[in-house]
């Protein structure tokens, strides 16, 4: 498949936003239980929610560039019964609304609001937001995992990777953010970041190993229904390009694709974790921010590779110009 920049940005940006929200809510829950000393004031949650919302809005904005007819995008909410894409279109704005309310609740002090006396409204909103957040990871992953003949994607690992990478990058941003606004939380958030980054690294590695062993179920023999073992296309039926040759072939060399794989493997885990460790040891905030930027760049490469690696069976029909 040809990796589309709009989709790469959509999936990575909303992943960061979702992970950041999960980080904020985790801090609040742990604070509430009394396991950690929470932030001194609500600004941590308010600015954090705004930051998460900015990432989510950036992703949503990028997604419109993928559409041929963005003015009709509202129609995409109708087929939620069958389409994971439609479900994502519903869950993403709902989650954004929740993040907005979460930030607003902290800003307006809903924790001690007289209308909901005795109940911390922000905790409740956050719980709903967490459900929507995980649901959004599920929708985003299932958009790809549900296509059964794209064998590289048709695995639960796809959903798990989206969940873990999104969370890890959001936690990394939360760590850098805490370094600026609430340094007491850096250690706590860094722990979660390391855990999720390592988990994402392992699960992505597992999917890479799985995909390397895949055997394509479709062959030229099944594609045209001729049993002979040697079939070569002599013409795809047209001289110039078509949608089929542009959308489903990335056009990059094998060596380039392989180098992107190593770039993202190094970029998403070892380098950012080393920067994180250096930042913690040296108490250097700027290193934490660089760690996030490096990991995000690695994630862009990871997503590019994710699309480029998928080998669509339709490519069997488009192998030779004449």
């Amino acid at each position: 498949m040809r990796p589309a920049l709009s989709v790469i940005l959509l999936t990575t940006l909303i992943g960061v936003g979702q992970g950041l929200f999960l980080a904020l809510y985790t801090v609040q829950v742990f604070d509430r239980i009394g396991l950690i000393q929470g932030p001194a004031n609500a600004a941590f949650y308010v600015c954090g929610s705004a930051l998460a919302l900015a990432f989510l809005a950036g992703g949503l904005g990028a997604s419109f560039f993928h559409l041929g007819r963005p003015e009709r995008a509202w129609r995409a909410v109708t087929m939620w019964r069958t389409s994971w894409l439609s479900r994502e279109v519903i869950v993403l704005p709902a989650f954004m609304g929740c993040v907005f309310l979460y930030g607003l609740g902290h800003y307006a002090g809903w924790a001690q609001h007289p209308l909901v006396a005795g109940v911390d409204a922000t905790l409740a909103i956050g719980a709903i937001g967490t459900v929507l957040c995980v649901g959004l990871f599920l929708c985003t992953g299932m958009i790809y995992a549900c296509l059964r003949f794209l064998q590289e994607w048709h695995t639960p690992l796809t959903v798990i990777n989206y969940l873990l990478f999104g969370s890890a990058s959001g936690l990394m941003l939360a760590t850098a953010y805490a370094g600026v606004i609430e340094p007491s939380l850096v250690g706590f958030l860094a722990g979660w970041t390391v855990a999720f980054t390592l988990a994402a690294f392992v699960s992505r590695g597992a999917s890479l190993i799985r995909n390397a062993r895949l055997k394509p179920r479709s062959t030229l023999q099944t594609a045209i229904g001729v049993k002979h073992p040697r079939i070569v296309q002599s013409s795809q039926g047209f001289l110039g390009g078509s949608f089929n040759t542009r959308e489903f072939f990335h056009g990059a060399t094998h060596a380039f694709v392989r180098s992107v794989k190593w770039v993202f493997l190094i970029g998403v885990c070892p380098v950012p974790l080393a920067l994180l460790a250096a930042g913690l040891a040296g108490n250097a905030r700027v290193l934490l921010a660089i760690a996030f930027l490096v990991q995000y760049a690695g994630l862009l490469a990871e997503r590019w590779f994710f699309f480029a690696q998928a080998n669509h069976p339709q490519n069997l029909y488009y192998q030779r110009v004449s």
Binding site: R69, S83, L85, L147, R148, R217, G225, V226
Partner: protein, 243 residues
């Protein structure tokens, strides 16, 4: 339940592309708007086509055969492109099984093309909506056309009659008989999409020449023995001289 479909006889198709051009002509002239076509005579021609003819070489030289292979939407009975559509623009008609795109609802997200293993959906780069074979739904029910012409444009155009059109759920239809009698098959059966369009396989044509086809055995002149039997290579005039 009706399931309209094409049955394509690979034994007959000569790869002339008449179905491609007639399809383009009919579908670019209809009420749904034109099919995009850029640089048709230029350096890098490109455009939206609902039907393609491809060629494959089967076998090892010198024992090779060229298989011409027309490919358009197969109107799957379980179409994977329909449930993934977020707007419902992609749908399968209950009454005749045709898979269609509502061009007024399509948002051009291309997800249906990703979900089609056959690569038969092509986006229109000018209208920014997904386009595909309609089985000429604007022809086959048109009462203003003579009944014999209520067929898809590609079927009308095929000079070798390699394309048959009909209801594959009706066991007495011509297409059902053709599938039954000639071992019609579906493409990529491994995905369980149950394509409605079928292909009739190529088979070897052998010439059976018997002695009596070459030399008439019941020639009365020869039986009478009134004329000498000429050599096989000598000039002959039927009923005057004999083989």
């Amino acid at each position: 339940m009706t399931q309209l479909a094409l049955v394509i006889d690979l034994n007959v198709c000569v790869g002339c592309h008449a179905c491609v051009t007639s399809c383009k002509e009919w579908n670019t002239s209809g009420a749904a708007g034109s099919l995009s076509d850029d640089n048709p005579y230029g350096k890098d021609p490109t455009g939206t086509f609902l039907n393609r003819v491809q060629s494959f070489e089967v076998g090892e030289y010198p024992n090779t055969q060229t298989v011409h292979f027309p490919k358009s939407c197969l109107h799957c009975e379980d179409p994977p492109c329909v449930p993934v559509c977020p707007t419902g623009a992609s749908y399968k008609r209950k009454e005749d099984g045709i898979v269609l795109v509502d061009y007024d609802k399509c948002i051009g997200c291309k997800y249906c093309a990703w979900a089609c293993p056959y690569g038969v959906r092509e986006i229109d780069e000018h209208e920014h909506v997904m386009k595909k074979c309609t089985l000429c739904v604007d022809r086959i029910y048109d009462p203003s056309l003579p009944e014999g012409e209520r067929k898809p444009a590609c079927v009308m155009a095929c000079p070798a009659n390699a394309r048959l059109f009909g209801d594959i759920h009706d066991p007495d239809s011509g297409v059902s008989k053709a599938i039954r009698d000639n071992g019609g098959y579906q493409l990529m059966p491994e995905w369980g999409t149950a394509p409605a369009n079928h292909y009739l396989p190529r088979h070897k044509r052998e010439m059976n020449v018997r002695a009596e086809d070459v030399e008439r055995v019941d020639n009365p002149l020869k039986v009478d023995g009134r004329l000498p039997k000429p050599a096989l290579k000598s000039p002959s005039l039927d009923d005057v001289t004999s083989w």
